[in-house]
């Protein structure tokens, strides 16, 4: 591996050793984070899939009900019936921190507590099928909200996992080996310097002895 140019000094060596230490610790921590995120993600995604299948099934049924309702009523009546809804749904979002990922938690409130307020029409001119249809849709709503919560969480977590994995890989395959290589280079260079000083001294000593005693 091509070593980046470093000064072969003791100071640099100490700095790099510290850096390697930090990198190794960071790598270990990030790896743990990735593993835990992955575990939670898989758990969540399993629930997400199951819930989605359930919700899709229910919505399909509700849609079928609406088609039925539409068949037995005129377009205008249906339109007027649903024109002015009585009920309103509000969501307050709070966030839960899961391994540094802020995942949303939705809490819903309805404008009125009366659950019959989903029928925004008089019962005289509409068919009973419409009541069924609206009821079936209303039954899906809690699941739908939960689906939104969990699916968004999965998306956010997937993002975070990807990011963390990149960091882990960058540390493991680039940063740590590079620093190790640099440390090795400096150690070698320092050793080499020491050896060359040693030989120089020995040589000088020989020369001095030669001159003094004629060895």
């Amino acid at each position: 591996m091509a070593v980046k140019q470093v000064n072969p000094t003791r100071m640099e060596l100490t700095r790099l050793k510290k850096k390697l230490n930090t990198a190794t610790r960071g790598h270990k921590l990030l790896k743990d984070k990735r593993d835990e995120l992955m575990r939670r993600f898989l758990e969540m995604v399993r629930e997400n899939r199951a819930l989605r299948m359930k919700v899709e099934e229910k919505i399909k049924a509700a849609n079928a009900n609406f088609v039925l309702a539409k068949a037995s009523m005129s377009d205008e009546t249906l339109k007027t019936a649903l024109l002015a809804p009585k009920q309103e749904v509000y969501v307050s979002t709070s966030y839960r921190n899961v391994m540094s990922v802020e995942i949303p938690v939705f809490e819903t409130q309805t404008r009125t507590p009366d659950e019959n307020d989903i029928y925004s029409y008089g019962f005289a001119f509409t068919s009973a099928d419409l009541d069924d249809a609206v009821k079936s849709l209303s039954d899906v709503l809690p699941d739908l909200i939960r689906l939104a919560e969990i699916e968004k969480s999965c998306q956010l977590m997937a993002d975070e996992i990807e990011k963390t994995r990149r960091r882990v890989n960058a540390l493991e395959h680039v940063m740590i080996p590079e620093t190790q290589e640099q440390i090795r280079y400096i150690t070698r260079k320092l050793d080499e310097n020491e050896r060359s000083t040693q030989t120089r001294l020995m040589k000088v000593k020989d020369m001095m002895l030669q001159r003094a005693h004629g060895y």
């Binding site: 992955m38 993600f41 898989l42 995604v45 399993r46 997400n48 899939r49 989605r52 299948m53 919700v55 899709e56 919505i59 399909k60 509700a62 849609n63 609406f66 088609v67 649903l82 809804p85 009585k86 009920q87 309103e88 749904v89 509000y90 969501v91 307050s92 979002t93 966030y95 802020e102 949303p104 939705f106 819903t108 409130q109 309805t110 404008r111 989903i118 029928y119 925004s120 249809a133 609206v134 849709l137 209303s138 709503l141 739908l144 909200i145 689906l147 939104a148 919560e149 699916e151 968004k152 999965c154 998306q155 956010l156 977590m157 997937a158 993002d159 996992i161 990807e162």
Partner: protein, 106 residues
């Protein structure tokens, strides 16, 4: 802070949701439809936007932008024309992103 829920899609698929007290918006596959969707996302009034799979097919790029944003949550639901499997593929996308390959592939 209270936000609302929007349902976005073709008229036939979404009008029922208005009875429950969700805000419904009708989508036509045109520039206005895209602009409307953008406005909804940017308005900040909506925590959750349900969108029918057929409408989502036209707005893929827009939806992709909001995948990594904490808000709003854009969730695909099947429309009246039936289930195209788009919603499930969104889940699959998350798995692929996190794991590297789709491990729930059956």
């Amino acid at each position: 802070m209270s936000e609302r829920i929007a349902v976005f899609g073709d008229k036939e698929s979404v009008y029922g949701f208005s009875a429950l007290g969700l805000d419904t918006y009708f989508f036509e596959p045109s520039d206005e439809g895209t602009a409307l969707f953008r406005r909804l996302c940017l308005s900040g009034n909506y925590a959750i936007i349900y969108i029918t799979e057929t409408a989502a097919a036209f707005l893929e790029k827009e939806i992709a932008k909001y995948r990594s944003e904490p808000k709003p949550a854009i969730i695909l639901i099947p429309g009246v024309t039936g289930n195209t499997g788009e919603g499930m593929s969104a889940v699959r996308l998350s798995v692929e992103k996190a794991v590297g390959s789709d491990i729930f592939n059956e």
